[in-house]
Symmetry: C3
């Protein structure tokens, strides 16, 4: 195995930036879809392309890890940061798929609100990831993590409100099954962003 | 960053005790609610206060971790113990919220049984956490972890029984959706207690 | 505590092989049940026996870990490999239980397809685990992990297809609730196999 030292290690930061940018692409595109209410074959294909790009970036990070001796932070943390960020993209992809699978079309203002929280959280996440480079000045990264936690709390409340309304306003169990799942998946994206933020915090903590 | 040595490290044990005590408060209060069958605004508010206290304790532990150089056990384990214990409290809070959201009132003897298992498991957990101080004598802590596993198995069986009955005894799908979720959440609290027990075991294992 | 050195460490590989073989037993038996369409008391008992054997092996690994000073790879990884492999067996057991609980009998060709993917994935997993012994030659183990990822992707697509069909072809919400859960549990077994593969990859990465 050919082993690289310093030059290669900086690649990890760039690769995580690309992976976080991919998550931002997924979140921005999901918001666009939610606002249009059209989850057609083209939309599914475009989201799948984003998800595949995310998978490729994840594998590239893991492969790079295998060939690098010195890493900017713990190998296990690189591993779990790559996998957790990938999960954020996967979940947005899954949710998009389910919208089409369940033939749910038309603008749903509750879903638009979720899409908005998700976009904000993923953008904060990409900022936190970018700031992993500067562990001397980790306050901004911790602040981004706090913001991600705040958005997750808002998502919890939104989910409770919309699911409460769902049971109040309809008596069609199949309609309830479908939308309850979509709303819960949307909230799970925010949970997963919080998981990534926890990994980021843990990396900062170790370097403190 | 101001760095403390020995005096500060003992704080972690006290802080985890407080967090575990907060989980016990949540479990005891949930049992009280299940026995009364009243999940009203006051109950929701009181459970939310417990959950906020849990959040504050979690953040305090993480902040303390950032300012401490020598820790009584691995930094990562402190991080994950704090987050997993917090999840136990969060799940009890979520379940309480759902009871109100779904307008499920009245005493349900199956829920009372779950509340009883949860209380026992969280109390065993708080004992295991307290015994992290004495790694020379870890048998009692391992025994508490075994008890938590046993209660989780009982919870699995209880969930299977009550969900089987649910499908036998009612044909209202919306009623099934609501109660099936509550029973599964209750069982998930016991799963999460087992996750905390796994972290405790892992800490003991490393110090062995 | 009596501490063993080299002789004992090799036991871990044998114990993980036994645990993986137990997972293979569960997967092979589940496929047999899916092909027969009979989930009766005898089937449930036999699957429970496999699951108990899995639990005993997990506890034996953890106990061994407590008494061993030098381990072939990180103590935490031994801990999480044991627990994740155990989860694969637990999930197959849970799914079998649910089939009986929901009184779902008769051959379902979609479930047969899932059972087939699960068997393939668990067999690949047992190969990956066996190859942990030879970290100098880790390509075959990485290839097994890639195969497990591929099977998980196939499982995702299968789940989407069968759940889409479920909503198309029936309007009985209780039937939908039951089968949707079974299909999702089947797919979760494949997800969990991927989690084990991630632990295996992480072990290989650290030893590279």
């Amino acid at each position: 195995m050919k082993i690289s030292f310093l030059p290669r290690e900086f690649k990890f930061f760039d690769m995580f930036d690309q992976q976080a940018a991919c998550a931002v692409d997924a979140a921005v595109y999901f918001k666009e879809l939610a606002n249009s209410g059209v989850f057609d074959a083209t939309a599914i294909q475009k989201m799948r392309d984003i998800e595949h790009r995310g998978d490729d970036l994840t594998h590239a990070i893991i492969n790079n890890l295998n060939k690098t001796f010195i890493t900017p932070f713990d190998r296990e943390d690189i591993h779990s940061l790559a996998h957790e960020l990938d999960s954020v993209i996967d979940l947005i992809h899954t949710m998009t798929n389910r919208m089409r699978l369940y033939k749910l079309s038309g603008v749903n203002s509750d879903l638009v609100q979720f899409a908005d929280l998700i976009e904000k959280s993923v953008v904060a996440l990409s900022n936190a990831v970018r700031m992993l480079r500067e562990t001397k000045n980790s306050k901004a990264a911790f602040d981004a993590c706090i913001e991600i936690n705040r958005l997750e709390n808002m998502g919890d409340q939104l989910r409770d409100n919309v699911i409460g309304n769902l049971f109040e306003n309809t008596h069609d169990p199949i309609f309830i099954i479908k939308w309850k799942e979509i709303y819960e998946e949307a909230e799970t994206v925010l949970d997963k962003c919080e998981d990534v933020a926890n990994v980021v915090e843990s990396i900062l903590v170790k370097q403190a």
